[in-house]
């Protein structure tokens, strides 16, 4: 199918997305992001929308059928009617970079801090054999201790985590190979 021209022939914008795990392409007529009425094209299907921008990160969508959706942006999710929908913008320019960065499941895998916190116990040492989902380190935040598991079976090759240390989200605590 050929590209769909936005109404009025004004230059539009195309966004590639992954929505709830599914890839799609959305063509937006120019100016719609600021509110108003227009036709979005989602994977070739036209969708008449009336967009109202309420606040930063909050829009109301009215679609042809009359359905109304208040959409609140929160990071990589959109909250509509109390439910969250995950999405990701696929930037064509960054695809190469992302591809290079993706680690194969066969190689070493890092156990990273899923949140800021303090390391309260390290359950493994370098050289230990661990099973998949075996606990390797315990961190504490907000009065809760949380055991982090190994993402795979293998041998522990690095343990940067130190008991008592404060860690930031994303810090590597243990590496399993």
């Amino acid at each position: 199918m050929g590209a769909v021209r936005p109404p009025g022939g004004i230059a539009g914008m195309t966004v590639w997305l992954e929505v709830e795990g599914k890839q799609c392409k959305v063509e937006l007529p120019e100016g719609l992001r600021d509110g108003g009425t227009g036709e979005c094209v989602v994977d070739g299907r036209a969708l008449g929308v009336d967009v109202s921008v309420l606040q930063s990160g909050v829009i109301s969508l009215l679609v042809g059928s009359g359905r109304q959706y208040r959409c609140v942006l929160d990071g990589d999710t959109i909250v509509i009617g109390g439910r969250r929908y995950g999405f990701r913008v696929e930037d064509p320019r960054s695809l190469k970079g992302r591809r290079g960065g993706a680690a194969g499941s066969a190689g070493p895998r890092a156990v990273k801090a899923p949140m800021p916190g303090r390391v309260v116990r390290v359950l493994v040492g370098v050289g230990d054999e661990v099973a998949e989902h075996q606990g390797v380190v315990v961190i504490e935040a907000m009065k809760m201790q949380n055991e982090l598991k190994s993402p795979k079976a293998g041998r522990v090759v690095k343990v940067p985590a130190l008991v008592g240390e404060t860690v930031q989200q994303g810090d590597v605590l243990v590496v399993v190979e």
Partner: protein, 501 residues
């Protein structure tokens, strides 16, 4: 007996500190907040007349420092301290220190706390007051051997519990004799780490019990009333998640029997002010004394909704030496209330805590909704404390209306920037067993182990895609990453391939 209270220091943080400050303000009392370095901009500070820094973020250097708190009381001229829940609220030494410093401690006298606050002592008091309790050791267990002997007598399964503890710390269920020794050591060392005392005791494990508690209020003059029960069986890791009043299974008669037993216990210990007696209730409506919480509870709002009373105002009046003013027969329950504890945690990822900045906050309102919220948009939720952000309470004429109203409110609620457990409540409140009142303390763990209802939202994908595209178009307004639609799909595909190469 009247003790003049004019200025109240609130020795706590978050929503409960704000709750107390609001009650004080309504009664014309001045308020003093204390804060750690993580809380300079916290809501309780912003609502107080005065605010004083205690120390660095860790609670041991701030909210647990009774000496610093009493120093602030002295500096500010506060004549009373409200401890809230947690932190120093059940610390008898702190209660005593307040008295020594000439400051009214808004809670029970230290003597009553000593008799009822320790779980092992409270069990002795319960026996003396003729209150049914779970079979088990009354005193702390001196050794693994003693534990094995008691367990053998009452029969497995048994539960090991920390004498000084709460919140599930230092607890272990033991189903077979060979597990006992390991569990004893684990529970004791966890208790030692958490509460500074490794004392543990042992009880018969009641199968599928409900956790139901009685709210008490007592004055200086020997009057003590019960304000009905709360159902707190929906728990995860022994932490309450949803509370209700009344319980769906408590009859008028059971309520009276539990209430009168609780009052008996409190009066036997000279108890004054607010307190809660926790029970396990089995399928045959037998109730067993579990422990007493000698303070205000997190979940007190559901009791307030169905009784129409303000428990914090009652606490303040009782603490200043006033009589209760209402009799047991004046307490009338009406309707049903449900509370959800909104936590900064991710139910889709092992309930990991989720501190950080709140970027969006859309709060529900309207009929039957009360929110005791401790945060605001722009506030950074610190990683140092309990992850509770807010308590959302829904009232309705019936349990069903209250539940449906809560679902409506949860659908309105948006917290952005951090993860919350809102979706967990949506799942529980739509669950058939919960709605039918078929709950016990293991209910939630079972629900979480079952396949999650793949109850996907009903918003069509195309709508979500359009919304996502609009948001990303706004985000990229200055530096567009997307390209304009001036080439065929094939051309675009080729271009993407090229970029991938």
């Amino acid at each position: 007996m009247r003790r003049l209270i004019q200025k109240v220091l609130v020795a706590n943080r978050g929503e409960i500190a704000l709750r107390v400050i609001r009650a004080c303000r309504e009664m014309g009392l001045h308020t003093v907040a204390v804060y750690s370095d993580a809380d300079r901009g916290a809501l309780h500070v912003l609502h107080a007349d005065e605010a004083y820094r205690l120390g660095p973020a860790p609670a041991t250097e701030s909210y647990l420092r009774g000496d610093l708190i009493l120093e602030v009381a002295r500096r500010s001229g506060a004549d009373a301290v409200h401890p809230g829940y947690g932190f120093l609220s059940e610390n008898t030494d702190f209660a005593d220190a307040c008295v020594t410093a000439g400051v009214t401690f808004i809670g029970p006298p230290g003597s009553a706390m000593r008799r009822l606050g320790s779980k092992t002592k409270a069990r002795q008091a319960a026996d003396a007051a003729g209150m049914p309790r779970v079979p088990g050791s009354v005193t702390g267990l001196a050794s693994v051997e003693e534990a094995e002997q008691v367990a053998g007598e009452i029969g497995y399964p048994v539960m090991l519990k920390a004498a000084a503890g709460g919140g599930g710390k230092g607890m272990r269920a033991v189903h077979r004799a060979e597990e006992l020794a390991g569990a004893f050591v684990a529970a004791s060392s966890e208790a030692e780490r958490s509460f500074g005392s490794g004392e543990v005791y042992l009880e018969k494990l009641i199968e599928r019990p409900r956790h139901i508690e009685i709210q008490l209020m007592a004055d200086d003059y020997g009057a003590c009333i019960y304000l009905g029960e709360r159902e707190c069986s929906v728990q995860r890791r022994h932490q309450k998640v949803i509370e209700e009043a009344p319980s769906a299974v408590v009859s008028e008669d059971l309520r009276r029997r539990m209430g009168e037993a609780a009052v008996r216990l409190a009066l036997s210990a000279g108890y004054i002010n607010a307190g809660t007696v926790e029970f396990l209730v089995d399928a045959e409506e037998n109730f067993y004394f579990l422990e007493m919480n000698t303070r205000l509870q997190v979940e007190h709002p559901v009791t307030e909704m169905v009784t129409g009373l303000d428990m914090v105002q009652m606490q303040l009046r009782v603490a200043s030496g006033e009589p209760l003013g209402i009799r047991q027969q004046d307490v009338r329950l009406r309707g049903h209330a449900v509370e959800c504890r909104i936590y900064a945690e991710d139910p889709e990822n092992s309930f990991f805590p989720s501190p950080g900045r709140i970027t969006q906050l859309v709060q529900p309102g309207g009929p039957g909704i009360r929110e005791d919220c401790g945060v605001y948009a722009g506030w950074v939720v610190p990683l140092d404390y309990d992850p509770m952000l807010s308590k959302l309470v829904a009232y309705g004429e019936t349990r069903e209306i209250a539940i449906d109203r809560m679902l409506r409110a949860l659908d309105e609620y948006v917290v952005g920037g951090i993860k919350t457990n809102i979706s967990l409540f949506q799942r529980i409140l739509r669950d058939e067993d919960f709605r039918a009142g078929r709950i016990d303390t293991g209910y939630l763990e079972r629900l979480l182990e079952s396949d999650p209802l793949v109850e996907a939202g009903d918003v069509p994908e195309d709508i979500v895609a359009a919304a996502a595209a609009l948001f990303s178009a706004v985000a990229t307004q200055r530096e567009p990453v997307a390209v304009t639609v001036q080439e065929s799909r094939w051309g675009l595909s080729a271009r993407r391939e090229g970029l991938r190469a």
